[in-house]
């Protein structure tokens, strides 16, 4: 049989779907660097990294959900709710910062759990269930705050969004840590394998003895948790928690995951890919700003890039099948 080149590590990297989007990212960076000398400065690069890190954290959770063949539209509302509930805990109820953060995370898990129950026990399509929670969580955010923003956080909380470790912004460290943890989780644990199996063929996974309901509920809980973490980190960055935070972010999050190579039909995808997807969109936005492109055109350009990035990957997949 001979050593087929499938085991050659360089060949494997080339064939992997993440290679394509990493190339796209590098090409984009080169392009922008050539057109604007402000791009490749340490300050700017770290600033861009921090800017997209919040969506990237949400994209990690969304990635898990989409791999199972589902979708989570509620992330942006959970994002806002966790921000305001933890702010209220700290500022209005005077609770210590770590406890407030736990409350924010618990809220994220609770909404995720609700999503999971609706989808597995009530058999609602994920699109519908999470659309419902999108509205409910947003409404609750308005309700508990009366629409008023909540400022004046303790310094230790603000550090999460505004602090640095060395020259690296804390949110970036948080993203890298979460990225590594969940990447290993997805690739190497039993639970990660079950997620891929459910996405690949839920019926076969069930026949094989996998408790598909339980796995799916946990996945939605994780998505809620990460959305909550991202929401609190953003509130910390801005110095104020708003019930209107993150509106529209669910689309950016889903786009990041899809650009990153996760298929909507489920069964394939990586955490690293989702983060690169968020990076592509973040770098793109930054580039358009540096190049003085009007804010109105930015949305159009981003939409085009999403279509191009996914098409490029689809073409490689079709060619590989032949």
């Amino acid at each position: 049989m001979g050593k087929d080149n499938k085991s050659n590590p360089l060949h494997r990297i080339y064939k992997s779907s993440t290679f394509g989007i990493v190339m796209i990212l590098l090409v984009m960076c080169t392009f922008i660097a050539v057109l604007s000398d402000k791009f490749l400065t340490t300050d700017n690069l770290l600033s861009v990294f921090r800017a997209f890190s919040f969506v990237a954290i949400m994209a990690i959770g969304e990635c898990l959900v989409i791999i199972t063949g589902g979708i989570d539209l509620s992330v942006s509302s959970i994002f806002a709710f966790s921000g305001v509930i933890s702010a209220m805990a700290m500022v209005q109820w005077g609770l210590p910062v770590p406890l407030a953060i736990m409350i924010g995370m618990a809220a994220g898990v609770a909404f995720g759990f609700a999503n999971g129950i609706f989808i597995t026990k009530l058999k609602l399509p994920p699109f519908i269930a999470t659309l419902g929670i999108l509205s409910i969580a947003r409404g609750l955010s308005y309700g508990i705050t009366g629409g008023y923003p909540i400022p004046d956080f303790p310094a230790s909380f603000k550090f999460i969004g505004q602090g640095y470790i060395g020259i690296i912004p804390f949110p970036v460290i948080l993203l890298i840590l979460l990225g590594i943890i969940f990447s290993i989780f997805l690739r190497s644990t039993v639970f990660g394998r079950r997620i891929y199996a459910i996405g690949g063929n839920e019926e076969a996974a069930r026949v094989s003895g996998i408790n598909t309901d339980r796995t799916k509920i946990i996945v939605y809980c994780l998505s809620g948790l990460l959305a909550g973490i991202a929401g609190m980190a953003t509130a910390a960055r801005l110095g104020v928690a708003q019930s209107t935070a993150g509106m529209g972010y669910e689309l950016d999050t889903i786009a990041a995951v899809i650009i990153g190579g996760t298929s909507v039909s489920g069964g394939v995808g990586t955490v690293f890919g989702a983060i690169i997807g968020a990076a592509i969109m973040g770098v793109l936005r930054n580039g358009l700003i540096l190049l003085n492109v009007s804010a109105y055109w930015q949305q159009t350009v981003i939409g085009c890039v999403i279509i191009l990035a996914v098409s490029a990957d689809q073409l490689r997949y079709i060619r590989a099948k032949k």
Binding site: S188, T189, V190, N201, A204, R206, V207
Partner: protein, 495 residues
């Protein structure tokens, strides 16, 4: 002089790896009822699908009304003057009866607008003909199965065809409706319309058919006339053959009871099913499609819920609500459809084989790849799976090898009881033999095996005991030695 309205001559049809029809000849005279009989997989449906334009023949000729015809699509078949009543209902549940009847050839008032009142009126007349006293604008989803079947019949009649093919038309009908259908058929014949009647219900065949043609293994066995017809003759044409395949049969000693199933009933099909299984024996389940065998195994394995009944493993009662529970009690199931229920096609051989034993190949939740690869390669060798390696995507393997992967996955759980549902369906001859030998070997080592198969030869060749089911009930049990294909077929069609 009898006029030949249809002649199918030397029809041959290939599917990947199998010859579905081999030089089949079929003739139908004008105004007659021709019954088409044969076991599951004999080729009846394939032949009719060629006639109705769903499949294209590979070789042979078709003559309709004396002229050679080429049937490229269902529309072409309809335009020639043929209509078909399918075994699986082809109605749209959210639409009304009259919309379904005139689907694709709607009555129009002006150009693009539908003439609903005309459609309604015509539909009501048709419903009258089939004895269905229901409003034609009732939505199909509100109808019972038998009513839907009558609507299908009405639809076929409305096409004013010269030849109507009826594939198991009475499978869902009540006795009264069956009588109505028989009268309709008699009337059609008097109007010089021909009917091809496919059915397992030999009483109906004897009553209605002018002639009976039998298919077996994709070949025409023969045709007999009404005068020559007896049930025995028909059954013998359907099944009688030399057992050319020698099935492996080692010395097996069935010992103690390992599984007992009592009074299992489900909401729609199974009625009071009970049986036992012993260590070291191969128990075959025979019966027609829809007899309830797969449904029974799904209940035992926890994929479906029973309404009542008990299951005992090794003498103790067990509660099985999910495949997880079944696997815990050392019960394993190789499902009927490997692509839909058995494999994650996008995953590798290794990942598929270990899917049911993830806890055993991991430590504190981290999967040990080496252990996985070891187990996978072990099965690849033991079952002689043809694959470039354990990392190959399972979707790229052939049917027979895919089946071996599903079997490997279940064997990896080290079961006491192994249920195999159509284990060699769509599998090439070579792999078939390997799988049979493997099953025989497992039984010899003390595994208790249940095998469901629609191939009588396989059931007879492999089983120590055979249970025959019909419409959700066990109709009979017979030992491997006493069993013959005819005896089984008699029980399977409840004659």
């Amino acid at each position: 002089m009898k006029y030949e309205i249809l002649r199918m001559q030397n029809i041959t049809k290939y599917f990947p790896g199998v010859v579905a029809l081999d030089n089949v000849n079929l003739t139908v005279f004008k105004g007659e009822v021709l019954a088409l009989v044969g076991e599951n997989g004999a080729g009846k449906s394939t032949l009719m699908k060629i006639l109705s334009g769903v499949y294209q023949k590979d070789l042979g000729k078709i003559y309709f009304e004396g002229k050679e015809v080429y049937i490229n699509s269902p529309t072409a078949s309809q335009e020639l003057g043929m209509s078909i009543i399918h075994q699986e209902l082809n109605l749209m549940p959210n639409l009304s009866i009259y919309e379904n009847i005139f689907m694709g050839r709607e009555n129009r008032s002006k150009l693009i607008f539908m003439d609903r009142s005309r459609s309604y009126k015509l539909a009501m007349e048709l419903l009258e003909t089939v004895g269905l006293h229901i409003n034609a604008d009732t939505l199909v989803k509100e109808l019972s199965i038998s009513q839907r079947q009558m609507v299908e019949i009405a639809k076929a009649l409305s096409l004013n065809a010269k030849l109507i093919i009826m594939d198991e038309p009475t499978s869902s009908l009540t006795e009264k409706e069956t009588e109505t259908l028989k009268n309709i058929i008699r009337k059609l014949c008097s109007q010089q319309v021909s009917v091809v009647y496919i059915s397992h219900k030999l009483d109906e065949v004897l009553e209605l058919a002018d002639r009976v043609t039998a298919l077996r293994d994709g070949n025409t066995v023969g045709t007999i006339t009404r005068a020559e017809c007896t049930k025995d003759k028909i059954i013998r044409m359907m099944v009688g053959r030399e057992l050319k395949d020698i099935f492996p049969r080692s010395e097996r000693n069935a010992s103690k009871e390992v599984l007992r199933v009592e009074n299992i009933s489900t909401t729609d099909l199974l009625k009071n099913v009970s049986f036992t299984l012993q260590k070291g024996e191969i128990l075959g389940f025979a019966g027609l499609v829809g007899a309830g065998r797969t449904e029974l195994m799904k209940v035992i394995f926890g994929l479906d819920q029973k309404v009542c009944g008990r299951i005992y493993v090794n003498g103790s009662e067990v509660e099985i609500h999910h495949p997880k529970d079944a696997l815990r009690y050392k019960l394993a199931l190789v499902p009927e459809d490997r692509k839909i229920q058995g494999l994650v096609l996008g995953m590798s051989v290794r990942e598929n084989i270990t899917l049911s034993i993830l806890d055993k190949v991991s430590k504190i939740n981290f999967i040990k790849r080496n252990m996985e690869s070891y187990i996978a390669n072990d099965f690849i060798k033991k079952l002689n799976v043809k694959t470039p390696g354990a990392e190959q995507k399972v979707g790229n393997l052939s049917g027979g090898n895919q089946q071996k992967i599903v079997i490997s996955k279940m064997l990896a759980t080290q079961p006491q009881i192994l249920i195999l549902d159509e284990p060699t369906r769509g599998v090439d001859i070579g792999a078939k033999k390997e799988i049979h030998t493997m099953i025989d070997g497992l039984a010899q080592q003390g595994l208790a095996v249940i095998i469901i198969s629609s191939e009588l030869g396989e059931v007879l060749g492999m089983s120590d005991r055979i249970i025959v089911m019909h419409e959700g009930e066990i109709k009979g049990e017979i030992s491997g030695e006493e069993a013959t294909q005819e005896k089984i077929m008699h029980m399977a069609i409840n004659q």
